[in-house]
Subunit: 408 residues, 2 copies
């Protein structure tokens, strides 16, 4: 453990460092060039930019819930680059692929008659769910866990709904014991999370469903991350449409579904769910729209289709098994190094307990290693996505140890 | 001209046809397959779906404001498939490309110091503009032209803002003479369109700017379509940031910018514009967010960059010149065939006057030819995008004539 003296010094140093102004690139003031460049020159510039980006293959991305898409997804994405389900009549093939993705993922998640649509991602799906709930109920309070994804608070601000945070239990999930005290007349929606962004844990969705029995409050589950993980772990909690009260669910093929961005799905039990948010576009091939975006890049639909068909349940199970093996490997290594897991991981997200995780995060970032931090429990957050190998994990643990024990 | 008798018969027939239930595909009820398929089998299915979609190269898409992206855009899109500006710290190269696109397009559109961001498309940009205006002003009325894109009404419903339609003049653009009568205390934003979806025309943005002088009302221009057309036509109206009152503007690289979906830009004169809509994501590399979507597929940023650098102003000018030549060709042919243009086209959008454009539209659609309709003026709407050739136009005009003169 670092001494108090060292800690003070390093924090002072970190504070100086963190507030030091970074050198800014000189501002360009040129207008668009009159003449175009030959593609070789454009390509050279693209390669320069790409070399400055970080890539999943580099082994230094530990804080993202996206990953390198499946090869079959990338190929499908390219084939359907023009597809735009915002003008659905032109794309009956893509439209049928969307239906098949919704069928496959919906049945995976406990639906008897899957209904849903593909969207740009989890944020759009969560926003639509809250908007629908507002229109459907005419009410405006949203009960959500403290750890809900930031898209919910953004949606509440946009929609002029009131976000009311339900406290977490000591297990870092929504405390279902206190929930009944929050149920009142003006509640438009209850939100729970399956695969919490910061911890990978799962709210007690089954219990929440029981608490909501006898009410008509819509119940939305954000399984953007967990939707493609929980069905494939060994002892999954109940979290899906098998729970009768569940109204709608977000699940993202572009996270653990091995699809490409943009790829989110909103599933809903009942078509009437979207009735209140219909838009009318008289000049398009499809007159009624239920999404936020207008032009909808639908290459992600083909990519999700291709990943799902290429992998099947057994493929996803194998990916999740590998991720969970690596997660346990990380926990074991980190424990030996002095940073025990703050809780037993349910999915492939780990929070390591340590002093000053923000400082460690910052030092790692400066070294080109991208983790993130968790607020509750406080710690260094690592997402063990399919692109993260054991070698990457070993290197990460060594680096964390180095950062903590050898301040600059 | 068709006789009244024929018209009656055809309308009756059309009504029968239009209300006839279509055969539905048998509902799949299978769950996700246990085993994945070899890629050859997945590819065979993808090809089947693709063969049922319509493609810009087929020569039958006349109603879309998207087009086949520039080759250089497609290549760049593939190179940056992983990029996600929702987690900006991982993608400094893509982030700098975004800045350069904003610089290039901003200066093209009259900005001295371009500010803006790339988004999923025009709808997200328009939604952000209205949300910003609501937060910035604390007011909630939006004055918009009758022909404003449907995203504005959708945004108003989401944001609980009141959309107030300003009547059009006899020239099918916002009637600036009546605008002053609508200006009152509770106006959060005035919207005008440069490249109206249904007509391609341009609202009198210069005049509106003058009318708004002395007020502090934000003024948003939707140039999703016109932003990459108007700067390149021979006698463009004033419509851009050169007009001092203009606050923000939407422009879509994935329309006439020859980029890929998702590719929209929101430009704003002042950074404080977005202050009210900041979201906070503690666990990401970038803590402050100003977009609707969370994970932001940013392959479209690279595609826009690549198209802009490959084409330069001269490239866009040449594309627009070809589109305008084809537009005039269409007008001439259609006039001879008995369907004169309802107005002289300003951009590459044409509305052909005819009886029963809805019927003609429907018959063309059934024949696999995709135009659309316009409400004001009433007519058949054709967007002469870069993928539309003279041969396509000639075939279209023949088909329209056939549909009108030879009812089934």
């Amino acid at each position: 453990m670092p001494s108090a003296e060292w800690k003070w010094q390093s924090m002072t140093w970190a504070k100086r460092y963190l507030t030091k102004p970074r050198p800014r690139q000189k501002k360009r003031t040129d207008a668009m060039d009159e003449m175009g460049l030959p593609f070789e020159e454009v390509l050279a510039r693209l390669k320069q930019f790409s070399s400055r980006d970080h890539h999943f293959d580099d082994g230094d991305i530990f804080g993202s819930m996206c990953t390198k898409p499946h090869d079959a997804a990338i190929k499908a994405h390219m084939m359907f680059l023009e597809a735009n389900l915002g003008n659905r009549g032109l794309y009956p093939g893509t439209s049928d692929m969307e239906n098949e993705v919704v069928e496959d993922v919906g049945t995976l998640l406990g639906m008897q008659r899957p209904k849903g649509q593909m969207l740009s991602g989890g944020t759009e799906a969560n926003l639509l769910a809250l908007w629908s709930a507002r229109e459907f109920t005419g009410k405006n309070k949203v009960l959500l866990p403290q750890h809900a994804h930031f898209s919910f608070k953004k949606a509440c601000r946009m929609l002029k709904m009131e976000a009311i945070e339900i406290p977490s239990s000591e297990k870092y999930v929504l405390d279902s014991k206190v929930l009944p005290g929050f149920l009142e007349d003006n509640v438009a929606c209850v939100v729970a999370v399956a695969g919490i962004t910061e911890t990978g844990l799962c709210d007690p969705i089954d219990e929440i469903g029981r608490i909501l029995e006898g009410t008509s409050i819509p119940f939305h589950v954000d399984a953007a991350f967990g939707g493609f993980v929980l069905p494939f772990i060994e002892h999954p909690p109940r979290f899906d449409f098998d729970i009768p009260k569940l109204t709608s669910m977000t699940v993202d093929p572009h996270k653990m579904g091995m699809g490409t961005i943009p790829g989110g799905i909103l599933l809903y039990r009942d078509d009437s769910f979207l009735k209140g948010i219909r838009s009318h576009a008289p000049y398009l091939t499809q007159k009624s729209h239920y999404a936020i975006t207008g032009t909808r890049g639908s290459a992600g639909v083909a990519a999700a289709f291709s990943a799902i068909k290429s992998l099947g349940c057994s493929g996803y199970r194998s990916i999740v098994r590998d991720c969970m093996d690596n997660t346990r490997h990380l926990c074991a290594r980190a424990k030996v190094a002095g940073f025990p897991c703050a809780f037993e991981p349910l999915t492939n997200v780990v929070v390591l307990s340590m002093n000053e995780p923000e400082y460690v995060y910052k030092m790692l970032t400066d070294a080109g290693i991208f983790c993130s931090t968790s607020r509750n429990p406080k710690g260094l957050r690592i997402v063990v996505m399919p692109h993260v190998s054991r070698e990457n994990i070993d290197a990460l643990v060594s680096k964390i140890k180095e950062v903590v024990t050898c301040p600059p």
